[in-house]
């Protein structure tokens, strides 16, 4: 990068150095300085490994609090067991190229185990197979591969169960669930597994025939007002709720894919002056979401445990390195269920739950 080194005038931009205006030159120098500083900062991440057992953690991003918590859990457990842990992350959700490069680095470094939350299972399958052939134990965290046995094991939330819990809670909380008007606020148009699992889990829990368990919106129960997508954030949640209220303004149950979408749905209801008319249920267990349960914005949410997924994963790698045993799936599932708990301040008989105050002790983010 000749421009950054300042070694001399590069041939392609001589006009750049010929300027005599002092302010201009200063501005340019400042701009280039900023760029250079940025690049140096980026180069600071590389580290060398020296422990006997090394493992990798590859998350979808390293800014989402869910993955931050996951990384915390993995690092604490690795420290405890004396494992050298290298962490990698994609730049954004869906950034599969960076994840592939990370797996390649892990294979090259001779990692004994790889913990990964796959951004895109099918695209990662070939490189994951290579890693396993190279002798690494591969564990999918949070998001299963399709099929799940692409990895040696999967430690994840049972998302169908998470949906089922809030569905059962909603049905039991209503005076007359036969007359319910339900809005379904889903993730996005791709209908990824977490989306249809939570969506259909909720409907089944509520007592609605879900037809195809991997399809969203194929139900014909008249209690469902409609489905709309939220992209899992407040803005999308609000717009989606406004739209469904236009279809039927008597909605009294709102399922949401996650707590930010739930917060957006509440804003829409509040702007209509109808925030007391509907029960909002959600899934995640992030601290702002639990706080919203405490304040009555969300009726109930299913909490998942990212920290546990990661620490169990590191333990499994340590065991594998010691005697070659691989983790076994939970009974009746093709993954290891790391548990889900219903959080609500209005518990109903027959559905175990914890209060928002208890949940604030365990929430992530």
């Amino acid at each position: 990068m000749p421009r950054l080194s300042g070694a001399g005038p590069p041939a392609d931009c001589t006009h750049f150095w010929e300027e005599t205006n002092v302010t201009n030159t200063f501005t340019k120098a400042a701009l280039l300085g900023m760029t250079a500083a940025g690049l140096v900062g980026m180069a600071g991440g590389a580290q060398a490994a020296s422990h006997s057992i090394s493992a990798c953690l590859i998350t979808k991003t390293d800014t989402n609090p869910f993955f931050v918590k996951m990384k915390e859990g993995a690092e604490a457990k690795a420290e405890e067991l004396g494992i050298e842990l290298n962490s990698y992350a994609g730049k954004i959700d869906g950034d599969v190229e960076t994840q592939i490069a990370a797996v390649e680095s892990c294979i090259a470094a001779g990692a004994k185990g790889i913990l990964i939350t796959p951004s895109d299972g099918p695209s990662l399958t070939p490189i994951i197979t290579q890693a396993r052939e190279a002798g690494a134990l591969v564990i999918a965290l949070d998001t299963p591969f399709e099929p799940a046995d692409v990895a040696d094991a999967t430690f994840a939330t049972d998302n169908f169960k998470a949906g089922e819990l809030i569905g059962e809670w909603a049905a039991a909380s209503l005076e007359n669930p036969e007359e319910a008007k339900i809005a379904m606020l889903d993730l996005n148009a791709s209908e990824v597994s977490v989306d249809y699992l939570r969506n259909n889990g909720f409907l089944q829990g509520f007592g609605i025939d879900i037809k195809d368990p991997t399809d969203i919106g194929d139900e014909d129960d008249p209690r469902i007002v409609g489905n709309d997508v939220t992209n899992g954030n407040e803005e999308g949640g609000r717009t989606a709720m406004e739209n469904l209220m236009q279809v039927d303004s008597s909605i009294n149950v709102v399922y949401t894919i996650n707590e930010p979408a739930a917060a957006g749905a509440y804003e829409a209801l509040r702007s209509f002056g109808m925030e007391d008319q509907a029960l909002i249920v959600s899934v995640d267990g992030g601290c702002p979401g639990v706080q919203n349960v405490k304040e009555g914005v969300i009726g109930a949410t299913s909490m998942q445990f990212p920290l546990l997924m990661a620490s169990l994963g590191v333990e499994a790698i340590a065991k594998f390195a010691e005697d070659g045993t691989k983790p076994e799936n939970s009974e009746g599932l093709d993954f290891t269920n790391t548990g889900v708990e219903l959080v609500t301040d209005n518990p109903v008989d027959g559905i175990p739950s914890i209060t928002s105050d208890e949940a604030l002790e365990k929430c992530w983010g």
Binding site: C13, F16, N24, T27, K28, L31, G38, T61, T63, N64, P65, V68, K91, A189, G217, G226, D228, V229, N231, G232, N233, E234, E235, G236, R238, T239, E242, N243, Q246, V247, P260, A263, G264, Y266, E267, R270, S271, G286, P288, Q291, N292, E295, V297, G365
Partner: protein, 363 residues
């Protein structure tokens, strides 16, 4: 100098006496007889917002048909809701228009808007600063972001596409690092800095609800329309977009002008950021992920040429409304979300095809 003789001068020369019987009309273009298509093409060329207005009216009429939406679309409440839903993208499209009129493009508007909103929220809520300080800091970020884009474009001479592609990533990464991707909750805003949500307030006109954010959007377009059409600054924007070298030769300090355009766009992005807090209720670092592309869509459907220098600033307002009407109408017609995306894709292609056809009139 070619003053047309009007026969008032008496020269006394014989050969000029025949002038009195000659045609006294002022030189004019031949008015050739036009066909229907030619006339349409000509009218559209003179009125660049006519196409988006007609598309808007037609789409409202179609979605109002009882067999399409069962009367759910054409209510004052729903129409005002569509206005609310497009208000943020509308304001961003105004900022985008400024850049596109100079033959540039800004991929960073959405990220800069969230960056600015996040700064308003973090300072106003998490640090507990007074709302007006939080707002000033948010606007400093927005205008500063525009300035950075402008400096790279004018001083380092990088193409706007590349500069804003870079700053898009940079702004996104900074705002995610600042917030840890965690939203600032609506309830915390209510408690600490309710003034930041002012544009979510509304006045009722019958069953319609006009939020302050919608009024703000219309004001932004009105002010920019005035600036672009009635001030030297505005004419210079068009001149630079039409032909930068000619503008330079005509004495316009093009680099300095461009810098002011980018800062102006930054200011409008700051306004969008403030309005977005009122619209969404909370501040989410993950919202408006496609706002940059949506703003470009509104600009293109609104009939502003991507090659710069042509189109009315009011076009993107109609462009944003068209998108909003299609989204609402198709949804109320009970169609899958994918059909909205499908329809908007065709609208973009159609809009640019019409633009190309209209341009041929001057050739």
């Amino acid at each position: 100098m070619s003053d047309t003789p009007k026969g008032s001068r008496k020269t006394g020369q014989d050969f000029e006496s025949t002038l009195s019987s000659s045609d006294t009309k002022v030189a004019a273009f031949e008015r050739k007889h036009r066909g229907v298509m030619d006339t349409i093409q000509h009218v559209l060329h003179l009125n660049p917002t006519l196409v988006p207005v007609m598309v808007l009216v037609a789409s409202v009429l179609i979605f109002s048909l009882p067999m399409v939406t069962e009367g759910k679309f054409l209510t004052m409440f729903n129409l005002s809701l569509v206005m609310q839903q497009v208000s943020i993208i509308g304001i961003l499209a105004a900022a985008q228009s400024l850049i596109i009129l100079t033959a540039g493009i800004d991929l960073s508007v959405g990220a800069l808007m969230i960056f600015s909103a996040v700064v308003m929220g973090l300072t106003g809520v998490n640090l507990g600063m007074p709302s007006f300080v939080a707002l000033i800091l948010g606007f400093v970020v927005a205008i500063g972001g525009g300035l950075v884009n402008g400096l790279f474009v004018t001083r380092v001479k990088l193409p706007p596409f590349i500069v804003t592609l870079g700053t898009w990533y940079i702004f996104l990464s900074i705002l995610r690092l600042l917030t840890g991707s965690q939203s600032i909750r609506s309830q915390d805003l209510d408690a600490e800095a309710p003034f930041l949500k002012i544009f979510g307030s509304f006045i009722s006109l019958g069953s319609a609800r006009i939020t302050f954010g919608v009024i703000l959007m219309i004001l932004v377009f009105a002010v920019l329309w005035y600036m672009l059409n009635k001030t030297a600054w505005g004419r210079h924007v068009y001149a630079i977009g039409d032909d930068k070298e000619a503008a330079e030769l005509a004495g316009i300090k093009t680099d300095r002008m461009l810098l002011t355009v980018y800062m102006m766009a930054g200011l409008v992005v700051g306004i969008a950021a403030w309005a977005s807090i009122g619209r969404v209720g909370s501040i989410s670092p993950n919202a408006f992920a496609e706002a940059n592309l949506q703003s470009i869509t509104a600009v293109v459907i609104g009939g502003i040429s991507l090659f710069g220098g042509r189109g009315s600033i009011l076009g993107p307002l109609f462009g944003a409304l068209i998108v909003g009407v299609f989204e609402s109408g198709l949804r109320l017609a009970g169609l899958d979300v994918q059909w909205q995306v499908f329809a908007i894709g065709w609208l973009i292609i159609l809009a640019v095809a019409i633009d190309q056809w209209i341009r041929k009139v001057s050739a």
